[in-house]
């Protein structure tokens, strides 16, 4: 009876929250847990309880997994809004349960916060858990990758089937002593890979014998193909590997199946390959998965491209909180084979915390902006002088750099002093202002 009441309360509060213009994906769970902290123990969960976690790529993976399963006739729910804390997961489960405590679907898919996972797995174990990567992510919140690794490691139940991106040595370490099943995935060398370690910052040593790992190639940061010289630890042979990767033309192959990528960013190779491995672990056939991946209905994030003074302006989000995501966006810019002007800047390091840590700009290889296709680099925002210093250290010719401290000057500067397609990569705070500038220009 009490369970009935708690579930009803959760549903009602979330409904009211939604009606009053709030998200309605978190607060019901908060009150449900207040009323009965063990409520999650008392729900009859679906056959497949799937968790997806990691420093980046978990939202895209959850959404794609939902599409693959539902388009193959499975019924499923997932945390679409991207809230991934215990209150959000509680809301997700209770909102979709009957008042008698049954989640009547084939699969529950949960995007999970690395740090909060342990509080959820206290109540039930996932049947499958996919881990995308472990990198420097929101350091003021998460401190460092080895702490994130510990959080994940300590939360994993014995019997859960793990789906691991073993291109990441931190994720690969999760194999050690795990008692349940393990499926591995990764991606082959491609034209984004490089040999020298410029930015190999983490997990440099073998977790067993503490000898420095040797890399055959890097995709970005510490993600790549590596082995311990004493054979104590290696990426090894993968269960599922993306091969013949052509990021620019959005094509890969897994198990000899040709697959179209939803976009021309390197990270899509990872989440597509990860979801392939996860779907296979659940028992789907290759063609069931590829049919969905190659169909037109896979929604992708629309590229934000605008017109500005007879030029194209593409907006990218600057991932200040995660230096490797930021670096991948820079890689993307450099891989676009057009003359370009790049706008960089931010007022705040993060929208999730107010602390302004700027050490991460020194962990990003801005040196790659020394490229003949880069016409100008425009620096904006409250930290533009720190960025200017960083560009100077990166050896970028000062004639290529334009410092715009007052955004009112930006439009004129772009028109008079720059050439090529415009790419802006700014934090949320500047994005709004840039959109106004573009709109203003198009009104004239």
């Amino acid at each position: 009876m009490w369970r009935f009441f708690v579930i009803l309360t959760c549903k009602l509060i979330n409904k009211i929250s939604k009606i009053t213009g709030h998200e309605g994906s978190v607060i019901g769970g908060y009150y449900a847990l207040k009323l009965d902290k063990n409520i999650l123990n008392k729900i009859h969960l679906p056959k497949y309880v799937i968790g997806i976690t990691g420093s980046s790529g978990k939202s895209s993976s959850s959404e794609l997994m939902y599409n693959i399963l539902t388009q193959n006739g499975y019924t499923a729910v997932y945390n679409k809004e991207g809230s991934n804390t215990i209150n959000a997961i509680t809301s997700l489960i209770l909102n979709n349960s009957t008042l008698t405590g049954k989640l009547k679907k084939d699969a529950l898919i949960m995007e999970l916060d690395e740090g909060f996972m342990k509080y959820i797995f206290k109540y039930f174990s996932p049947t499958h858990l996919m881990i995308t990567n472990i990198t420097r992510d929101q350091p003021p919140r998460n401190s460092h990758p080895s702490k994130i690794f510990e959080c994940i490691k300590n939360a994993i139940p014995d019997n859960t089937h793990l789906i691991l991106n073993v291109d990441d040595p931190f994720v690969n370490r999760l194999k050690i002593n795990h008692k349940g099943q393990i499926t591995t995935y990764g991606i082959d060398k491609n034209n984004y890979s490089y040999k020298n370690n410029i930015n190999n910052l983490d997990a440099a040593y073998c977790p067993i014998c503490h000898t420095k790992l040797e890399y055959d190639f890097y995709h970005y940061g510490h993600i790549g193909s590596y082995h311990c010289p004493n054979n104590d630890f290696e990426r090894g042979k993968l269960d599922y590997e993306a091969k013949n990767i052509d990021v620019d033309n959005q094509l890969i192959e897994i198990n000899n199946n040709k697959i179209n990528l939803p976009s021309n960013f390197l990270y899509t190779v990872y989440f597509v390959t990860g979801c392939f491995a996860l779907s296979k672990s659940i028992g789907l056939k290759d063609e069931d998965i590829t049919n969905v991946l190659n169909s037109e209905n896979i929604k992708t994030k629309r590229l934000e491209i605008y017109d500005f003074d007879n030029r194209k302006w593409q907006m990218l989000v600057s991932k200040n909180e995660n230096n490797l995501s930021y670096k991948q966006s820079l890689d993307y810019l450099i891989h676009q084979n057009v003359e370009k002007t790049i706008i960089l800047g931010f007022d705040n390091s993060s929208r999730r915390y107010t602390e302004n840590d700027i050490s991460w700009i020194w962990d990003i290889d801005f040196e790659e902006l020394n490229d003949s296709k880069v016409n100008k680099i425009i620096l904006i925002g409250k930290f533009c002088n720190d960025l200017l210093l960083r560009m100077t250290y990166a050896g970028i010719n000062k004639d290529k750099i334009i410092l715009v401290e007052d955004l009112n000057d930006l439009s004129e500067k772009i028109k008079k002093e720059t050439k090529g397609k415009i790419y802006s990569m700014t934090c949320f705070d500047k994005e709004i202002e840039l959109k106004k500038i573009i709109a203003g220009e198009n009104d004239d």
């Binding site: 690395e114 919140r141 460092h144 910052l201 700027i358 050490s359 020194w362 002088n385 200017l388």
Partner: protein, 242 residues
């Protein structure tokens, strides 16, 4: 004449953009037409400490710090001699933990025992948004060596107890032991702070103080500052001074 710099544990204690510090030293010396060589060394490497004028060590995860500790303990005699000879040692983040008496985690681990303080890892969160147990935030501090304010960022879980010769003074929420107003540590030409990442780039006045003294010892002329760095420093204070 060449200034020789050692970036020790460059691939292990490198957590928060720490590479910026050696790059800064190189740029500032080169602005003053002084030749610089930077060596990168790590665990198990052979090191001739006599060669170096300045050694820099940055911060790492607790796991990597203890890995470095195992290695650095083999170099105790060399390092003690290096410090006593008035050579320069700059430590950021938790690197200073290596030089104290011991580190208390869930057990007590002997450290270099070159200085009299000891370290304790904390296990309570002081940052409401943190999912881990850390001291995290922006730093504004005073320093006896220069008149200009020190800026920076901390992200740490170590307390250093029994330090009587701090490098900086600040409020107790970011101090060595969270009780006094002492931050960091100095002794002869050792400069240690919990500030992480690009300490020297963000604090050009401190950098000039340290490098010009080092150059004076070597009869080299160091007069030029990095104007870009000073501008970034001033803008930060203008935008974010509380």
């Amino acid at each position: 004449m060449m200034i020789n710099i050692l970036h020790l544990y460059y691939d292990l204690l490198n957590l928060y953009g720490e590479n910026a510090n050696t790059r800064c030293i190189k740029r500032c010396l080169e602005l003053n037409k002084i030749k610089v060589n930077i060596d990168l060394k790590s665990i198990n490497d052979k090191i001739d400490f006599n060669k170096y004028d300045l050694i820099y060590i940055g911060s790492g995860s607790e796991e990597d710090l203890l890995l470095a500790l195992d290695d650095i303990k083999k170099r105790r005699t060399d390092l003690k001699k290096y410090i006593e000879n008035n050579k320069y040692l700059i430590l950021t983040g938790n690197a200073m933990d290596l030089f104290g008496k011991y580190i208390e985690t869930d057990k007590k681990i002997d450290a270099l025992d070159i200085f009299d303080y000891y370290t304790k890892f904390i296990n309570e969160s002081t940052f409401e948004n943190a999912s881990t147990d850390r001291i995290v935030g922006e730093i504004n501090a005073k320093c006896n060596l220069i008149k200009e304010e020190i800026i920076g960022f901390q992200n740490r879980c170590d307390l250093n107890i029994n330090i009587k010769t701090p490098l900086f003074k600040l409020g107790n929420i970011f101090s060595n032991d969270l009780e006094s107003e002492n931050e960091g540590f100095t002794y002869k030409n050792v400069y240690a702070t919990h500030i992480i990442g690009p300490l020297l780039i963000r604090n050009p006045y401190l950098t000039d103080y340290i490098l010009s003294n080092m150059c004076k010892d070597k009869k080299l002329n160091y007069t030029k500052s990095d104007e870009l760095s000073i501008k970034a420093y001033n803008k930060y204070l203008e935008n974010f001074s509380k």
